[in-house]
């Protein structure tokens, strides 16, 4: 009986503690609160152990993945064959476009896009929750990684850093329901946002619901939304285009390029400089004349001054005319 009562008291105490923790974490939102620091410490401590386990079990995981892939090999083969043909056709036109692009660049004197500065990292673990799609990577602030930095791999956008500790970072994956990124279609430039929904596919919220979208169109990141992601990182291809359900929404799903079940090596973009616009050519030679007007001039005074000057000028003209007439009269008189 005593034990049961003790358990009840402890239950109440622990529930109150949990509620206090939730409140503290909620109110110190922004990633700098005491519980966020504790999270960072746990991530940093757990990283070496997770790293070791991940290294050991990776071949096993790949083998399991390989077995499950057998069932989709035929369909994948067919899909890739069609894609290869499409890409071969596209390569031929791409060569011509490349030449044209190069000439246009020379004409416009636009500098080539800056090389992205990246840091390589290995995936060591996934998040502990079933409703959160995050990974832990084995590089952190010591390598120059900061919160908010985009993460990519050879296929495209993987996610963004949501927590950085000295030796490890946590990355929110593109498929997480809380992930958003500004994107555009690579061919037609239709803009919108991409959102995860806890697995594949992603959802593309297109800005213009009446835009012409086709299955197979590629999506890349767009820098228009505060420039959080560098321009042109591949996201995926449009898998299905739904009809407009209302005037403002349209269901468009996107199959990501990245295989989120086998994320081994990733790159964190630690520097994607938005290059400042070059100054106007010969701007130093521009001779801009600024009128020499005193500030806060009273318009009435100015008008009166103008009238007085006009009056003085008129009088001066009349005097001049009179003198001219006076000088001319003797000559007229013989």
């Amino acid at each position: 009986m005593y034990q049961r009562r003790k358990a009840r008291v402890l239950l109440v105490v622990l529930i109150i503690t949990a509620l206090v923790l939730i409140t503290v974490d909620f109110r110190s939102g922004g990633g700098d609160g005491p519980l966020d620091r504790l999270r960072g410490a746990v991530t940093a401590v757990a990283r070496p152990i997770q790293d070791g386990i991940a290294t050991l079990v990776r071949p096993l995981g790949d083998a399991v993945g390989g077995v499950t892939d057998i069932f989709s090999v035929r369909a994948d083969n067919e899909r890739l064959r069609v894609r290869l043909e499409t890409l071969e056709q596209r390569t031929r036109s791409a060569l011509d476009l490349e030449r044209e692009n190069s000439e246009l660049r020379q004409l416009l004197e636009i500098r080539d896009r800056a090389e992205l500065v990246t840091v390589g990292a290995r995936t060591v673990a996934l998040g502990a929750s079933d409703f959160e799609w995050t990974i832990t990577i084995d590089a952190g602030t010591d390598a120059g990684i900061e919160r908010g930095m985009p993460v990519i791999n050879g296929d495209g956008l993987v996610g963004r850093v949501v927590q950085a500790t000295p030796n490890a970072s946590r990355v929110l994956l593109t498929i997480d329901p809380t992930f958003f990124a500004a994107v555009r279609t690579s061919t037609t430039g239709e803009t919108g946002t991409i959102q995860g929904r806890g697995g594949e596919p992603l959802v593309f919220a297109v800005t213009d619901p009446a835009a012409e979208l086709e299955v197979g169109q590629e999506l890349v990141t767009s820098a228009y939304s505060n420039g959080q992601y560098p321009e042109g990182i591949p996201i995926g291809t449009i898998a299905d285009v739904g009809e407009s359900t209302t005037a403002l929404t349209r269901d468009v799903t996107v199959r990501p390029f990245v295989d989120f079940t086998r994320l081994h090596e990733v790159l964190v973009i630690i520097d994607a400089p938005i290059q400042p616009l070059p100054p106007f050519r010969d701007s130093d030679d521009l001779d801009v004349r600024v009128p020499d007007v005193e500030p806060f001039v009273d318009i009435d005074d100015l008008q009166r001054q103008v009238e007085e000057e006009a009056e003085a000028e008129r009088e001066a003209d009349e005097e001049t005319d009179a003198e001219v007439e006076g000088e001319g009269s003797p000559e007229d008189d013989p």
């Binding site: 034990q3 049961r4 003790k6 358990a7 402890l10 239950l11 622990l14 529930i15 503690t17 949990a18 509620l19 206090v20 923790l21 939730i22 503290v24 974490d25 909620f26 519980l35 504790l38 999270r39 746990v42 991530t43 757990a46 152990i49 997770q50 790293d51 386990i53 991940a54 079990v57 990776r58 096993l60 995981g61 790949d62 399991v64 993945g65 499950t68 060591v124 673990a125 996934l126 998040g127 502990a128 929750s129 079933d130 409703f131 959160e132 995050t134 832990t136 949501v162 927590q163 946590r170 929110l172 997480d176 329901p177 809380t178 929904r197 806890g198 697995g199 079940t261």
Partner: protein, 171 residues
């Protein structure tokens, strides 16, 4: 008592490392078992409500500190609740029953995951859809049921090796 606490702590850390580093490679359909929930279930089934509460709190805190989007305290609430409920229900279960632990593993996996999902949708930033909630809850419930014999057996063995002193024996 100290040795038992250390052993339980080590079990929890091992469980969380396996869950975050090993199961992602072996997960099927995007879902994986919730080992920490199974450990809490095992302790509560073997030793009762009080140890179930303590281990539930520790496991919940560990889960919360290894997640990023949901506020710290959500998993604490869920796992503490499961530890207490299973511990209180323990005297009413047949001691040698095989089906009762399996059934409890399924139900706790289902309700624990669904409860956490609902709480994180209400209090956190997570945008959990109903479909996702059902899929994840069922996935974890099935996985946990399959793994229950192994994990519960391990917990039982650990508890036999490091028993709770008679003064703190449970309800």
């Amino acid at each position: 008592m100290i040795v038992r606490t250390a052993a339980t702590g080590l079990l929890l850390v091992t469980a969380v490392v396996i869950q975050t580093a090993l199961f992602p490679a072996l997960g099927l359909g995007g879902f994986r078992p919730n080992l920490l929930l199974l450990v809490v279930l095992g302790v509560a089934l073997r030793d009762g409500a009080l140890p179930g509460l303590r281990v539930g709190f520790a496991a919940g805190l560990l889960t919360d500190l290894l997640t990023t989007q949901a506020p710290v305290g959500l998993a604490v609430l869920v796992l503490t609740g499961i530890g207490y409920t299973v511990g209180v229900a323990r005297p009413y279960l047949a001691p040698g029953s095989v089906t009762a632990p399996l059934l409890l593993a399924f139900v706790s996996g289902l309700l624990g995951t669904a409860g956490y999902g609902v709480l994180s949708a209400l209090l956190g930033e997570s945008r959990v859809t109903f479909q996702l909630l059902v899929q994840a809850s069922l996935g974890v419930a099935v996985f946990n049921t399959l793994l229950a014999p192994v994990v519960l057996g391990l917990v039982r063995r650990l508890s036999d090796r490091f028993p709770i002193e008679s003064s703190t024996a449970l309800s």
